[in-house]
Each structure stands twice: as structure tokens, then as C-alpha cells.
């Protein structure tokens, strides 16, 4: 077997060094009734590299990919062009096969990347500081709520109805066990976001207000107004960004008054990957530094006075604080953070603005084309690169019919809110710089046929 370097002679010699007769002697502490005396029956035996590749390629071929089809899916995961150098660089073995940088003298590559990543995220979100990543946007959203409850010593959070329903469900699951009280506003298919309802729900017991920006239907809430209302009650504003490319065109949440900004970094460098692994982004005001979850990389000096980087403030973390830690997270999304950081360093501020501008322009063109289809209307008042359509039929059926025609025509809102019959006719449509005019024309034509 190509992954196992030991041969029979090695094994025999090593057993002799150990003083054991057979390998079974090393498993003597396993209870006799649980010992298996051979390979588990009914499972396949080892296979060649070629055979495994063929099996996986056959499974891969059963999927309709974003590269094959006109593609308009978003709702928390976006298809953007990833420069070839990103994937090349993250496959460098020194990055790919390294561990969490516990030994900083021989992990300066990873650590400097994390320091640069933290700086990029802080600037993108308009915050003082950022951490070295969390699992994904949905878990980062919960971590922000948990941090807000520690900071304010309150346990109530208001969740906008524009928050991605998976994020809201994740928070509700955590809150159930943590004993927190969530005020979850309903998803509404209206032209503007539910800012007024959010503001009305804030009270003197509220630890945090959670608002997605742009929201799950692509609308853009007035964060400054919500921040003012939250701060007046002593609550923190947590802004959730699931499409960071939007910040190439619209203001950073921190600049609008958000105290904590979390997000999903998948759109930059990471790719679709059927939902994971993704990249949790977490940034906030410096005054919450010692309450932050996750790894933090900090600058310092070595014994010769040279600049260097280390993981720091670990007294917040599980391996030191155990049950009093700020989070239980250990492994995070290091390699995805690297991919994000490389992509963002290739873009720079100017490239990000250009990417955002093209994505927005393509979404505008898409909305014009689809809004002209009989029976279809655009719900949003404004949007960045994603908007909602109202259809004359259930959107899930329409999307299936489009897929049968080789078009991945968006995400039915019912996929995210299956218990809301009143939202069944809402279809979420996203466009990016990868969407070209032929794709838009193909979707508009197919939608017209399907609805005819």
C-alpha cells in the first residue's frame, strides 16, 4: 500500500525492539469482546489510485456544475472567478501540510499570513481588529451573539428577518442550549429591509441586534439608523456580511456603527464546494479584544529583536481556560483564510471595487431581463448583486424545470424557509462578474418558456 512505508522486515525488527511477539500484543488492553479478528466484513478492501480516481470522477460527473450551466445561485454562497495563482499557492506543501502554528519559530509563514489576513479583514469590515478565522459565517454569527452576551451581561438578541435562515436556525439551536433568548423577526418578501421592525424590537435587555448586510434577499439595511437605536439601549450591533465583495461598492459596516462585523469569506478565494469548507470572518472594536473567540495572531520580536508573529491572548481559549473559555473552537479555517488573503491581495482595493462594480452591473442587467418576463416582478427597491423575484408559480418547481433545461436559475426562498407557504413564489437570483450576457439571455428565455 503506497501510503504505508513499513515492510514486513521492518515490522518484525520493530516488534523485536519493543519485545512483543505480534502486533496483537500491542492491543491487549482492548476488551476481548470488542476485538475484531480481521477486516470488518462487508466492506471493500484497498483499491488502486486509478480505481479510486475513476470512482470519484464518475460521481463528479453526475453533478451539473456552475462551469457547465448558466448559473444564478447565491443565498450565502457565491461563485466568483478565482485567479489560478490562488489554488497554486495554497497547494504549496508548506502551507497545506502544516499544523496550527504552535511553534512560531518554524511557522512564520502561516503566522505572517494570518497577521496580514487579520489586517485585511479589519479594513474590509471597517473595524479595529479581526481574528484568524472561524468555521463559517453562520457559526461566526453565533460566536458574535455569544460575545455580545458576555460583554453586555444580557442574554437577549434581536435577529432581523433579513438574516439568512440557516444562520438564524444555527443561532436558535445554540441559544436553546446556552439559555439565551432570541427575538427572531420573520422573513418578509418586501421591497425594503425590516429596519423599523428591528428597531422596534430593541429593548433595555437586548445584548445584540443582528442584521445581515446586504440581507438574504439582497436588500441593504440602514445600518447607521439601527446602530443608533441599538446603542441608545446599550445593545451591540452585529452586522453579518455573507457577500464580502459588496463592500467594494457599499460602505463597510464598521464605518456605519456596527460594533461587531462577522461574515462568510467564501466569495473570495474559497469557491462553492457544495457548502464547505467555508471561512468565518470575525472583526470588532478593540475594546472587546479579550472577549473575542478564536485564534489571534499578534506581532512581537524574537530574541535577536527581529519582527515576528505568534498566536496570542490564548488565555481566552479552551486549551488554557477550559470550561471558562470564550469559545470551544480549536481547528478553524486556516487554509481558506490563506486563499481569501491571497485573492484579496491580488485584487487590492481597486480590484475589489472593479469586481464589485461588474457583479452589480450584471445583476442590474439580469433584473432588467427577468423583470421583463411576463408575470415576473422584481421585489427589491435596491440591491448589490442579488435580488428577489416574485413568480406566478412556486419557485421550487420553476427552478427544477430550469435545471432540467441545464440552467441553475437561482435559489427558491422556500428552500431556506420550507415552513412558509407565503414565500413559495419568491426566487433569489444572484449575479457576479462570472455571469455573462449570454447566461442572462438564456435564463430569461427559459424562464419565459417555463412560465408560459
Amino acid at each position: 500500500m503506497r501510503m504505508l512505508p513499513l515492510g514486513a522486515a521492518d515490522r518484525a525488527a520493530m516488534l523485536a525492539t519493543i519485545g512483543a511477539q505480534a502486533i496483537d500484543d500491542l492491543f491487549v488492553d482492548v476488551p476481548a469482546e470488542a476485538v475484531l479478528h480481521g477486516p470488518i466484513p462487508g466492506l471493500p478492501l484497498h483499491a488502486s489510485e486509478r480505481a479510486v480516481e475513476r470512482h470519484m470522477a464518475a460521481l463528479s460527473a453526475q453533478n451539473l456544475t456552475a462551469e457547465q450551466a448558466p448559473f444564478f445561485c447565491g443565498a450565502g454562497a457565491y461563485r466568483h472567478h478565482i485567479p489560478a495563482s490562488v489554488d497554486h499557492l495554497i497547494q504549496r506543501g508548506e502551507f497545506l501540510t502544516a499544523y496550527t502554528p504552535y511553534q512560531p519559530e518554524i511557522a512564520q509563514g502561516t503566522l505572517q499570513v494570518l497577521f496580514e489576513f487579520q489586517t485585511q479583514v479589519a479594513r474590509l469590515f471597517g473595524c479595529d481588529v479581526a481574528n484568524a478565522s472561524l468555521y463559517d459565517g453562520s457559526t461566526a454569527c453565533w460566536e458574535a451573539i455569544a460575545m455580545a452576551t458576555r460583554v453586555t451581561r444580557r442574554n437577549r438578541a434581536v435577529l432581523s428577518g433579513g438574516l439568512h435562515p440557516h444562520y438564524a436556525e444555527t443561532a436558535a439551536t445554540m441559544a436553546r442550549f446556552a439559555g439565551d433568548d432570541l427575538c427572531m423577526l420573520p422573513t418578509r418578501a418586501e421591497a425594503d429591509s425590516d429596519d423599523a421592525a428591528v428597531i422596534a424590537a430593541i429593548d433595555g435587555q437586548t445584548a445584540a441586534v443582528v442584521v445581515q448586510y446586504p440581507d438574504v434577499m439582497g436588500r441593504i439595511p440602514d445600518l447607521a439608523a439601527i446602530a443608533a437605536a441599538a446603542h441608545a439601549q446599550g445593545a451591540l450591533l452585529i452586522a453579518v456580511v455573507t457577500e464580502p465583495v459588496a463592500l467594494g461598492l457599499i460602505e463597510s459596516p464598521g464605518a456605519l456603527g456596527a460594533d461587531v462585523v462577522v461574515g462568510e469569506g467564501q466569495a473570495l478565494g474559497v469557491g462553492l464546494q457544495f457548502g464547505g469548507p467555508y471561512l468565518g470572518l470575525f472583526a470588532c472594536s478593540e475594546k472587546f479584544l479579550r472577549q473575542m473567540p478564536g485564534r489571534l495572531c499578534g506581532e512581537t520580536v524574537d530574541a535577536d529583536g527581529k519582527r515576528g508573529f505568534v498566536l496570542t491572548l490564548s488565555t481566552r481559549e479552551q486549551h488554557i481556560r477550559r470550561e471558562k473559555a470564550t469559545s470551544n473552537i480549536c481547528t478553524n479555517s486556516g487554509l481558506c483564510a490563506l486563499a481569501f488573503s491571497i485573492h484579496l491581495s491580488l485584487l487590492g482595493g481597486s480590484g475589489l471595487e472593479r469586481m464589485a462594480s461588474i457583479s452589480h452591473s450584471r445583476a442590474v442587467a439580469t433584473a432588467r431581463a427577468l423583470g421583463a418576463v411576463a408575470g415576473v416582478s422584481v421585489i427589491n427597491h435596491t440591491w448589490f448583486n442579488e435580488f428577489a423575484l416574485r413568480l406566478p408559480r412556486p419557485a421550487a418547481d420553476v427552478v427544477e424545470a430550469l435545471a432540467a433545461r441545464g440552467i441553475l436559475g437561482g435559489v427558491p426562498l422556500s428552500r431556506l424557509c420550507p415552513d412558509r407557504a407565503d414565500l413559495a413564489d419568491v426566487l433569489l437570483i444572484a449575479a457576479t462578474e462570472c455571469t455573462d450576457m449570454h447566461d442572462i439571455a438564456a435564463l430569461a428565455a427559459a424562464l419565459g418558456e417555463v412560465l408560459a
Binding site: 513499513l6 484497498h46 489510485e49 519559530e105 479581526a130 464547505g276 452591473s361 435545471a403
Partner: protein, 513 residues
């Protein structure tokens, strides 16, 4: 906050006045290349990405930002060079033996990287119509089937994103089961051995439980009497790592599981060390109710400098119905994803957006298919053989506190007992860096003074082990003799020992120029 290292060292931009000639002008020495920060070399108006020519068409209603995001850009050649140079300051499995105990740094097969990048897995959206992703769903179902059969359990929750997230999932399933029994408010305590990973008590707290510690006995295993004495009507369950963090198999696991069940609790197993027994022992046969599997450990998905991981949780029949949404179901009609709460009334909720770490599932499935049931058994055989070879080869120069407790499993534990006054585990670890190896896990588990936990894994050859053992023997002798040079180690790394106290006292987490 800006007073760290304002005069700090970084590579020169290349001008000297001739008054004092340095060793090298740039600060570099041949292949020993330093690299400035992105923010010191990038430019706000430079970009390494070319876009199609598209005329901007911006909605007048869009609230535009006041100024461009202040982020430096690099051209492609500058970018490739920046990250390639940084990569060379990292140690990695690809460079050599990486014996971090409990972390399982085994070789990452490159077929798995190729497979994960196949377009049918890499370029599909999590919310595409299910009819368009049958192959991707089949990957999840096939991996789920392997995990259930390898562990002898009833079901598996695939969505948790790493080991600690899996722990949370398992404890929430236990909490939900207790709620269903009407005992969620009375069974509030999770028993955690003091040798446990820090994630265990942290997880128990986040899942809404109180934590009670269970001591280790003198042999490095759970103090059975203490555990049995603590069981009662307030105990929700135990979290046990098996093999444990001292590298030993918990012989009494069946007795413990039976007693916990009899007392009305559940048994959670931290599966971080499943790689020691995969293919040889099924946790389901030991009475385990829930166990996470770190795909990045046992099934060799790359650690990536700190993730991403993946932590599916196998569940016993008692807990299976409480598994979080979504479920992947395979039956005579095919494979499908069940996502709606109405269809899964007992599911305790949702762990995260979408369906889990697909990119890790493809890699882990390729690893499992490559090895097969026979190869996986050989994996644990060789991992345990290599660890016992390390233990046998070093116990005459290093204190092995539990060497009398029977064979170790996949990792060997040593202490700093016998080192010269003023010499610590840290000194030996840093000395290992100068020998060209990554250090072992140090100061964990907490039950041993100056712990050194060595996990060689099955992908090391005997020759690689012998070279490592030679270095270890030499360092052990130097630590015992009190060689002052050891305290100055490392001397040959990209950096010497870093001032971690300064970093924590004056935190500087972002570049401010």
C-alpha cells in the same frame, strides 16, 4: 498599542551609505529569504486580476461607499513570490516527521487533493436543486456509510465543521435526549477526566452543562472508583477520550459505559484518537453513544496551518433521532437531503449553514477507498507499532511515566523528570527544531509534569523514525546534563524564540504602519 518593534527588523529595501557595511545589504542570505508584509510592498491602485471589459451600470438607489477600501494590491508575479517566500518559513509534513501528539500529522495523499477539485464537487452550489447534485450527495452518503460501519454505530451527523464542533453536536444530542425524557433540567453535569482536551470542558459549558472533573489514576487511566462514585441523578454523561491523551487504551471502558447507562447517563467519546483503533475496534461495541471523527486526523485531510477540519458525529440508536438537520438519506428511491424541520421533528436543530465540509468529505472518502477495510486496519497497526517503537527506544533516556501501564497506542508520553535544574520540556522541544524536526506536543496532557506527547503516525518509515530517535536521544542527554546551548535553541530557524509575553501585554493584531 503601536509601540512594539517600531524599529524592528525587516529586509532592507536595498540602500546603504557605505559607512557601515552589513553582512548582506538585503538581510537575506542565499535561500534564507525574509519577506516584508503585504502592506509594505503592495499598492492601493495595483491589481493582479484582469476582468472583462464591462461598462459600469450602477443603480442610482445603491448607497455607495465614501472611499475605496484601503487594501494594497499586488501584481501576479509579486503575489506568487510573496506567498512562496512566506511558505518557506513553515515546517510541514511534506518536509519531515511532525510528531505532534493527539494531532495526527500523517501524510496527505495528493490524489485526495485532485479529487476534491473535480468540478462536480468543487463547482457546485449547496442550494442547487437536488436533482442536479446526485453525485455530490452520493459522496456524503457513501462516506456516512463507511463511518457508521467502521464505528458500529446507528447513524452519523455529517455537518459539524471540526472536532470541537462535533463535540458540541454530540453533547447537544445528549441534551436533547434528556429533554425528551424530561430530565434536561435535572441532569446538568458532564464528567470530564482531567487528562481531557481543553475542548471537552469548553464544549460541555457551551452545550449548557456544568463540568465535574474526574482524576486520573496512577496508571494514566481514568480513576474508575472516582468516576463510579460521582455517578448519580444529576449526571448527564461522561466525555471520555479513548485511546486517552496519555496514549493508553481505557481498559475499563465497557465497565464505565455500562455504569453510566445504568445511572441514566450517556457516553460521549472524543474521537480525536480514533486513528489508533480504526479497523480494529468499533466504538459501538464499547458502549459509546456519540463520538466525533476528525476527518483531518484519522482520514488524513490536510491540516492547512489550522484547518479546515471536519467532525462528523456517529450516534447510537438512543441518540440517532436527535441528529441535527440536514440528514442525508439513502433508500430505494435514491439519495436525498432532508432539510425541513417538519420532516425531522426530533432533530435538535442545525449546526451551521448548508451541509458540512464537502471538500473534506471527498478527500476522506478517497482516503478510505484507497485503504479499504484491510488497509485501515494496517493503518492502526502501523501507527501503534511506530509509537511503541518510539516508547521502547526512548524510555532509557527519558522518563516515561506510564510505560509500566502496558503498551501505548498511537502516541508515547514522556515527562521532564530527570532534566538538569533549569532545563525544561520547552528547551528540548526547541532543540528539536535545530535538528530539523517539528517538536512534539508539549505540556499536554496536564496530568504529567512537562509532558511530551509523541505521535509518529503510520506514514513514517523506520529510517525516518531512527533519525528522529537519534536526535531525541541526543537532546535527552543534553537536557539531563544541562547543556547551556540547548537553552538558546533554536538557532537555525527563521526566528529565534519569540517574546510571547510582549505579544500578549501589548497586543498588536493588525498592521498600522
Amino acid at each position: 498599542m503601536n509601540d512594539i518593534n517600531t524599529a524592528g527588523w525587516r529586509p532592507s529595501l536595498g540602500t546603504i551609505d557605505g559607512a557601515a557595511l552589513p553582512d548582506t545589504v538585503t538581510g537575506n542570505r542565499a535561500l534564507d529569504l525574509q519577506e516584508p508584509l503585504l502592506f509594505e510592498i503592495g499598492h492601493a491602485d495595483r491589481s493582479g486580476v484582469d476582468f472583462d471589459d464591462v461598462e459600469p451600470d450602477v443603480l442610482p438607489t445603491l448607497p455607495r461607499r465614501a472611499a475605496r477600501v484601503d487594501l494594497p494590491g499586488l501584481s501576479e508575479p509579486e503575489c506568487v513570490r510573496h506567498y512562496t517566500r512566506l511558505s518557506r518559513q513553515n515546517y510541514a509534513i511534506d518536509l519531515g516527521l511532525f510528531p505532534l501528539g493527539s494531532c495526527t500529522m500523517k501524510h496527505n495523499p495528493r490524489l485526495n487533493e485532485k479529487v476534491a477539485r473535480m468540478p462536480g464537487f468543487a463547482a457546485v452550489h449547496p442550494l442547487q436543486p437536488q436533482s442536479s447534485v446526485r453525485g455530490a450527495l452520493t459522496v456524503i452518503a457513501e462516506l456516512a456509510d463507511w463511518l457508521v460501519r467502521l464505528t458500529g454505530m446507528a447513524a452519523v451527523a455529517m455537518s459539524p465543521k471540526a472536532g470541537a464542533h462535533g463535540e458540541l453536536c454530540g453533547l447537544m444530542a445528549i441534551h436533547a435526549a434528556l429533554d425528551a425524557r424530561g430530565e434536561g433540567d435535572t441532569r446538568r453535569v458532564i464528567l470530564v477526566p482531567e487528562s481531557a482536551h481543553g475542548t471537552n470542558p469548553a464544549t460541555a459549558a457551551f452545550a449548557g452543562f456544568a463540568v465535574a472533573g474526574i482524576p486520573a489514576g496512577p496508571d494514566g487511566r481514568i480513576d474508575l472508583a472516582a468516576l463510579l462514585a460521582r455517578l448519580g441523578s444529576d449526571v448527564a454523561g461522561v466525555m471520555i477520550t479513548n485511546p486517552n491523551t496519555c496514549g493508553l487504551f481505557e481498559r475499563d471502558i465497557k465497565t464505565i459505559a455500562d455504569a453510566v447507562h445504568a445511572a441514566g447517563g450517556y457516553v460521549y467519546c472524543d474521537g480525536a484518537n480514533f486513528n489508533a483503533i480504526v479497523g480494529r475496534v468499533r466504538p459501538g461495541d464499547l458502549g459509546i453513544d456519540a463520538m466525533h471523527i476528525n476527518l483531518h486526523k484519522t482520514f488524513s485531510t490536510p491540516h492547512g496551518g489550522g484547518g479546515p477540519g471536519s467532525g462528523p458525529v456517529v450516534l447510537s440508536a438512543a441518540l440517532a433521532d436527535y441528529a441535527p438537520r440536514p440528514h442525508v438519506v439513502r433508500d430505494e428511491t435514491g439519495v436525498r437531503l432532508v432539510e425541513a424541520a417538519a420532516d425531522l421533528p426530533q432533530a435538535f436543530g442545525r449546526m451551521c449553514a448548508f451541509h458540512g465540509q464537502m471538500g473534506m468529505f471527498t478527500r476522506a472518502l478517497a482516503y478510505i477507498l484507497t485503504h479499504g477495510a484491510d488497509g485501515l486496519r494496517q493503518v492502526s497497526d502501523d501507527a501503534v507499532l511506530n509509537a511503541n517503537y518510539v516508547l521502547a527506544s526512548l524510555r532509557n533516556v527519558l522518563d516515561a511515566p506510564f510505560a509500566g501501564s502496558g503498551p501505548c497506542m498511537h502516541e508515547a508520553l514522556f515527562s521532564d523528570h530527570g532534566f538538569a535544574e533549569g532545563f525544561s520540556t520547552l528547551d528540548l522541544a526547541k532543540g528539536l527544531i535545530d535538528e530539523g524536526f517539528h517538536p512534539m506536543t508539549v505540556y499536554f496532557p496536564l496530568v504529567v509534569h512537562g509532558a511530551m506527547l509523541i505521535e509518529p503516525t503510520e506514514t513514517e518509515s523506520r529510517a525516518a523514525l531512527d533519525q528522529f530517535l537519534g536526535a531525541m536521544r541526543s537532546l535527552a542527554v543534553r537536557a539531563r546534563a544541562g547543556d547551556p546551548a540547548l537553552r538558546a535553541a533554536p538557532r537555525h530557524a527563521p526566528r529565534r524564540r519569540l517574546d510571547e509575553t510582549l505579544a500578549a501585554r501589548k497586543p498588536r493584531l493588525v498592521w498600522r504602519g
